[in-house]
């Protein structure tokens, strides 16, 4: 698993969770099914893209600071 794919996975979950959390704190209305699904899909897509970008940047910075043969340390 690469850093970008791991970041994308985290971003997708984060986007979905944030949408539901924003409803709980009163900024979004998820009472109707159709806009609620749209909000969740948009949150997942945006979160996935942003997470992949963040993971990619963090991966590059990590590789610049660590040697490749320390890969087992990441486990």
């Amino acid at each position: 698993m690469s850093a970008a794919s791991h970041g994308a996975g985290c971003g997708v979950v984060l986007g979905i969770v944030l949408v539901i959390f924003l409803q709980q704190v009163g900024y979004l209305i998820l009472s109707d099914l159709m806009p609620a699904i749209e909000y969740l899909v948009v949150g997942a897509v945006v979160g996935g893209i942003l997470g992949a970008l963040i993971g990619w940047v963090l991966g590059r910075s990590y590789l610049s600071r660590h040697a490749v043969n320390e890969a087992t340390a990441a486990k």
Binding site: A3, L14, D32, L58, S61, R65
Partner: protein, 237 residues
């Protein structure tokens, strides 16, 4: 063996501080959202033959028809809804219903069955949403409806409420979501470590030498008995 450089430690501390700040900011939101009801109590009485109307603790729900004008309620407090309709409207009502929707599904439903069915109100419906308040909070669409004896909906009206959890934050779903947000943020900041794993898995493994010695403590498996061993010689003369 895992090594922690000072830079990685600083990044971890920064991520933890960021997560704590986000948590503190998000926890303050429900407290700020707790506001006094913005809808003034309706004192109008229905005229004969007018459309039915419903009041929520004295507030006309027609004034809460949009999310921005939602009724601010405490989900640990009971609410009394008064359904009023007149006989001149020409409807017989058997069931007075209140539904609360989440993702298009009714998460809670309250009914008052009228037996025999009535041609005029008012009918009072009490609702204490404590069980919902320990799970959910936020803005929800509710539907007040009048049901005929044949099951058809004679009248209904949508309105919105902004429910706050008991003590402002004791609701299961927001707490679980907040923990998930913190955990996923931690995972996102930690994703840089997976770069080394991705690089090593992308490169093909080197060819294994034939002279590889087995690790210590392992025993070579015993050779299976050969299939070509001749059978024991019979006692031929």
């Amino acid at each position: 063996m895992r090594t922690h450089t000072p830079h990685a430690k600083r990044a971890g501390i920064s991520a933890a501080i960021f997560a704590v700040i986000v948590t503190a900011l998000l926890l303050n939101v429900p407290a700020a959202a707790r506001a006094t009801p913005t809808v003034s109590p309706s004192t109008a009485t229905p005229a004969a033959g007018s459309t039915p109307y419903v009041t929520w603790n004295g507030n006309d729900i027609a004034n809460a028809g949009t999310a921005s004008s939602a009724l601010s309620i405490d989900l640990s407090q009971s609410a009394t809804l008064n359904y009023s309709w007149s006989a001149a409207a020409g409807i017989r009502i058997h069931d007075v219903r209140l539904e609360m929707f989440y993702f298009g599904f009714a998460v809670t439903t309250r009914d008052v069955f009228l037996n025999p069915s009535q041609t005029s109100g008012p009918v009072s419906l009490g609702w204490t949403p404590v069980s919902v308040g320990y799970v959910l909070e936020g803005v929800y669409r509710l539907t007040a409806s009048l049901i005929a004896p044949n099951g058809s909906t004679m009248w209904s009206e949508n309105f919105y409420v902004r429910g706050t959890a008991p003590l402002g934050f004791v609701a299961l779903l927001p707490i679980v979501l907040l923990l998930l947000v913190v955990y996923e943020l931690y995972g996102l900041f930690r994703s840089g470590r997976y770069a080394a794993l991705g690089r090593t898995s992308a490169t093909p493994p080197p060819a294994s030498p034939s002279t590889e010695t087995p690790p210590e403590g392992t025993t070579t498996p015993a050779e299976p008995p050969s299939q070509e061993t001749p059978p024991p010689a019979g006692g031929s003369p």
